[in-house]
């Protein structure tokens, strides 16, 4: 995570996400998947072929692509279908866009109810016998049962969670890096899924994004760094207030 300053002098914390060897693996049509839209399977970082099932290896062979560590599905409209085997780059996103980031949270193992659900526990003294971090009562008398989904101790973390509405401040096209506002679930160097934001406030925020995606062998050549309008670039002189 790094600091980023705006032209008015405010500081924001930013997470760096690297787009490493992303390829489109397969196109699944609407009828085949049974959903409302067609899907595209996208694979992430290159990994070893040894611990993958035969079915997974077939998908990679069909697309003509080295085996990937992470495979995700994206729901796509019919006009945004991409041919399997095309590489995807960080320039697919533009600064000023808003983005949702999904990843597996850091696994904390088996945790008690205070850490896992934020219960208050019991006082440390004043006669408490062996009860300082316990859940206390788990149901009422009339219910005569414990409801399903009762918050209790258990394995915490290592589940998929999403941070919504993160602004993209900067894109580095040479190293394929996206600078995303705020923090992102997961540990350092973990695999992450980045999507256009589903929040209704940012529905009209994408002004002319590369559609369906940014093709590297196309005609347009982008500069090495793409900045948002409000960001302070280090080539400018220091900020002054008029």
């Amino acid at each position: 995570m790094m600091p980023v300053w705006t032209k008015s002098g405010k500081k924001h914390a930013v997470t760096l996400l690297k787009v490493q060897d992303c390829h489109v693996l397969r196109y699944i049509s609407k009828e085949e998947s049974g959903g409302k839209t067609s899907k595209l399977l996208v694979g992430g970082k290159n990994g070893s072929p040894f611990f993958k099932s035969e079915a997974a290896m077939e998908i990679f062979k069909e697309a003509g692509v080295p085996p990937k560590q992470k495979v995700t599905t994206f729901n796509v409209t019919d006009d945004a279908i991409i041919k399997p085997g095309t590489p995807l780059y960080a320039a697919h996103f533009r600064p000023g866009q808003f983005v949702d980031v999904t990843a597996k949270t850091i696994g904390k193992g088996f945790q008690g109810v205070m850490k896992r659900w934020g219960f208050k526990g019991q006082p440390a003294s004043h006669g408490q016998t062996k009860t300082h971090r316990r859940p206390g009562a788990i149901s009422t008398n009339k219910a005569a049962k414990v409801y399903r989904g009762k918050k209790m101790p258990g394995k915490m973390g290592n589940i998929y969670r999403t941070s919504f509405g993160l602004k993209v401040w900067r894109i580095n096209t040479k190293h394929d890096i996206i600078y995303v506002n705020g923090s992102v679930p997961g540990h350092t160097n973990c695999l992450v899924k980045v999507k256009d934001s589903k929040l209704p406030t940012y529905k009209d925020c994408n002004k002319n994004p590369p559609f369906p995606t940014f093709f590297a062998d196309g005609d347009e050549s982008l500069p090495e760094d793409l900045y948002d309008e409000e960001i302070f670039q280090f080539t400018d002189p220091s900020v002054t207030y008029a």
Binding site: M2, G9, T240
Partner: protein, 247 residues
């Protein structure tokens, strides 16, 4: 003309050649790499450090960040939207340099009208308009937080202080000042060996100093897992940074 003992005119002896001490060469041998360039230990991608360093060098090309140490007296002018001239100048002694990369900070302390004031500035913040080193010197410690519990005379510096000149080729002077403290209680127990402070003149009874040594951890200096040898990393980064800055 002078006659030698032979009576013949003496052979012309040219005057001895002046010895030129090349101060430029002496200056090049001296390297200073700002501590925020040194990467911290941990599972950090070297690409991220490389990009951060690029940004830091870019900022240094536009804005000059001088060499300074903990214990030097600095004057910093920042942009302030609520001040008269839209700028704010603060003079103080640097008591701490923290953070790595773009988020590197330094804390300046001064006593203004009997009120101790500490301001934490970010080195790479765009609101800083000028950093001047009024007096470049080092102290016996890396962290001068104990000045909070020292007599106020050690933290007062004149706001309109004139810069003290420092020649480039000379070594940075180390001020071996031993500071006198206010009576206890202090904010931290500075006599304990974990702070390893050499710049305080402890006027505590011997009994207390001996009891404080109870918290010493003599095995720490032999702990191999805590060793972090930065000499090779520093050389590589120094080469990279100096090449980029010369461009």
């Amino acid at each position: 003309c002078r006659m030698s003992s032979d009576g013949k005119p003496a052979k012309f002896q040219p005057p001895p050649k002046p010895v030129i001490i090349d101060k430029q060469k002496q200056r090049e041998e001296k390297r200073f790499l700002s501590p925020e360039f040194i990467p911290p230990r941990g599972r950090i991608d070297p690409l991220k450090l490389f990009l951060e360093r690029k940004d830091m060098i870019q900022r240094r090309k536009v804005f000059n960040i001088p060499e300074f140490y903990v214990g030097s007296i600095l004057a910093v002018t920042t942009a302030d939207p609520y001040a008269n001239n839209k700028t704010n100048r603060f003079v103080g002694i640097c008591i701490q340099r923290g953070g790595k990369g773009l988020g590197a900070t330094f804390v300046l302390r001064n006593v203004i009208e009997d009120q101790g004031v500490e301001i934490c500035y970010e080195l790479y913040s765009p609101r800083i308009q000028a950093i001047e080193v009024l007096k470049l010197e080092k102290r016996l410690d890396d962290n001068l937080m104990y000045l909070r519990d020292a007599l106020p005379q050690y933290s007062t510096f004149d706001m309109n202080m004139k810069p003290v000149s420092h020649l480039d080729h000379e070594e940075v002077p180390v001020n071996k000042l031993q500071v006198r403290m206010k009576p206890k209680p202090w904010s931290k127990r500075w006599e304990r060996p974990k702070y390893n402070i050499k710049g305080i003149k402890f006027e505590l009874p011997e009994e207390k100093m001996r009891k404080a040594q109870k918290w010493s951890q003599p095995w720490l200096e032999f702990d191999m897992m805590r060793e972090y040898d930065t000499s090779k990393i520093e050389e590589k980064i120094w080469k990279e940074v100096s090449e980029e800055l010369k461009k």
